[in-house]
């Protein structure tokens, strides 16, 4: 009833007015850990804030998309990227703090690649930004190895039976980036326009890059 709703709202407002909300337990523990590490000089507040700002708001999959678009328009660059991604990534200044190697795997009409980390959540952070929650889920990590076609179908990617499917298991030492196929009908597009078509999921291998007319 409206009267009850009003009373409820009023009670909630009063509660909010009187008390500062206690964060949920893990949030409180993280806050305490940050306090302790700051006190010990193991981290700095500036570096924490700068990382969150960069990864939550700026990096995203843009860097990976730039590399893909350039590989699509520049065969020499693509050859170097396929042969020695570490050097290329270092040259453009996109290496991360995780260390280890980057390997680029190319999708073709005959082969489709998808990446996973079955152990934890190894991922090319510096190229793709924050890994999505599904990439870190136990369901994806176990199922994409056992039944990759079924998992990809759930992402809306139904692969033809004659396409070979390769699942790459990332580790701390070796992380993967999928070079998706360039969609048909994009011949006239600039490198920047092509990069804008490339999605994070396409570089993980859970979708294809759609041509502009097909994008919803």
């Amino acid at each position: 009833m409206p009267h009850d709703d009003h009373d409820h709202d009023h009670a909630r407002d009063l509660h909010d007015h009187l008390h500062t909300h206690l964060p949920e337990e893990p949030a409180l523990r993280v806050k305490a850990l940050e306090t302790v590490l700051l006190r010990k000089g193991l981290i700095s507040a500036q570096s924490i804030d700068a990382w969150i700002e960069a990864y939550a708001n700026q990096i995203g999959p843009r860097r990976g998309a730039e590399l893909v678009a350039r590989a699509w328009v520049d065969p020499d660059f693509k050859a170097r990227l396929m042969q020695d991604a570490d050097t290329v990534v270092r040259e453009v200044g996109y290496e991360g703090v995780e260390g280890g190697h980057i390997r680029v795997v190319e999708n073709t009409p005959a082969v489709h690649n998808v990446i996973v980390c079955t152990l934890c959540s190894c991922y090319p952070w510096s190229l793709l930004g924050i890994p999505p929650d599904w990439y870190k889920s136990a369901a994806y990590r176990s199922r994409v190895v056992r039944e990759p076609r079924a998992v990809l179908a759930e992402f809306g990617l139904v692969l033809e039976e004659d396409i070979q499917l390769r699942v790459w298991d990332a580790t701390a030492e070796l992380r993967y980036l999928v070079l998706p196929e360039r969609p048909a009908g994009t011949e006239g597009l600039s490198e920047a326009a092509l990069a804008a078509l490339v999605t994070r999921n396409a570089m993980v291998g859970t979708e294809r890059v759609a041509a502009p007319a097909m994008r919803g």
Binding site: R29, V36, W51, G100, C117, D133, A172, E173
Partner: protein
């Protein structure tokens, strides 16, 4: 399965940033991190933890504590004390005022 939000909750971002800062500082290696987090996720799964973002980041927090405990066993007690200090600060600070440690 699309998800535009980078982090569902601020503490997910905070704990991820701490992992990266400590990796960058060389407090532990990326390989150590991967092994520890993998073991923690397996432990969680064995104990029926839900397959959610919260579970993942709780595993990240617990893995951090495991690695830090190797080099600084006193940290656990320090952390417990600091957690309680923050809890008290939240419970005793009137709404609208900044929450600070005493």
């Amino acid at each position: 399965m699309t998800d535009a939000v980078a982090f569902q909750k601020p503490w997910h971002a905070q704990v991820s940033a701490i992992v990266h800062a400590l990796t960058e500082a060389g407090t532990f290696s990326a390989a150590d991190w991967s092994q520890t987090l993998g073991a923690e996720r397996a432990h969680q799964q064995d104990h029926g933890a839900p397959d959610t973002a919260d579970s993942y980041f709780i595993a990240v927090l617990d893995s951090l504590l495991t690695l830090l405990d190797r080099t600084d066993p006193a940290l656990a007690a320090d952390l417990r004390e600091t957690t309680e200090a923050w809890r008290t600060a939240y419970l005793t600070t009137p709404h609208g005022q900044p929450v600070e440690l005493a």
